[in-house]
Symmetry: C2
Subunit: 106 residues, 2 copies
DNA sequence: CCGATTGTTCGACTACTATCGAACCATGCC
DNA sequence: GGCATGGTTCGATAGTAGTCGAACAATCGG
């Protein structure tokens, strides 16, 4: 049994709107979510374009997004894949993600 | 000329998405925005239903919402009227407010 | 003009959040 | 097993946000 090191994720039904809004209210996190909207990324690829951020800082932001239910973080071999929980979000908060992503990046 | 004591409001074109999301990410502020969606209120009426909050605390939340461009705060005689900037928000972030308000209060 | 009413602002304190290095953990490869 | 790789967690520190009392400002009514 390959040691399951799965991280806790809230289930779709229990997502809290204010938590989601807070997770999206940080510019660097929102920028990441925009990129994730185009497909999953490994954690290393979640680095902001250009600048390098310490792994611990990046991991912290991913945790915020994950605990709010915005992204899913799944181990895959030696790495982890981060993906947007688009369906869950659309189901619970219809139109929210589209509205947020529909605004041009600033 | 009755002393104009107008508070500063960002203009519609310069609203920042992350600031708006942050302003809405607080449960008490979001609850207030829901009520404002049904029409303007005087500041005193912005008190959370039931519990009493110090005036300074309430004023602080109103400031956060105002500076993010979510509400407008206009003096009217001895009181002030707080209103949702629905058109400005819809114009700049189409669908966002509807999505946020569309979710049942928690 | 005086006092009551309606709110904002200031200052202090507390609580939370961001950031980063270092330690730690699991995996894959030799 | 031993070691490099990819990430999370821990702990400390600095900055930011929430809460509240007290002071201040502007208006209306006597």
């Amino acid at each position: 049994m390959p040691g399951a090191r799965d991280l806790p994720h809230p289930d779709a039904a229990s997502l809290v709107l204010t938590d989601v809004l807070f997770a999206l209210s940080d510019p660097s996190r929102l920028a990441l979510v925009r990129r994730l909207a185009q497909g999953p990324l490994e954690v290393a690829a979640c680095q902001p374009t250009g600048g390098e951020v310490p792994k611990s800082t990046l991991s912290h932001h991913l945790k915020t997004l994950r605990e709010a239910g915005v992204v899913r973080n799944v181990p895959e071999g030696r790495q982890r894949y981060v993906s947007l929980r688009r369906e869950d979000l659309d189901d619970r908060f219809p139109g929210l993600l589209d509205a947020v992503l529909g605004t041009a990046a600033e």
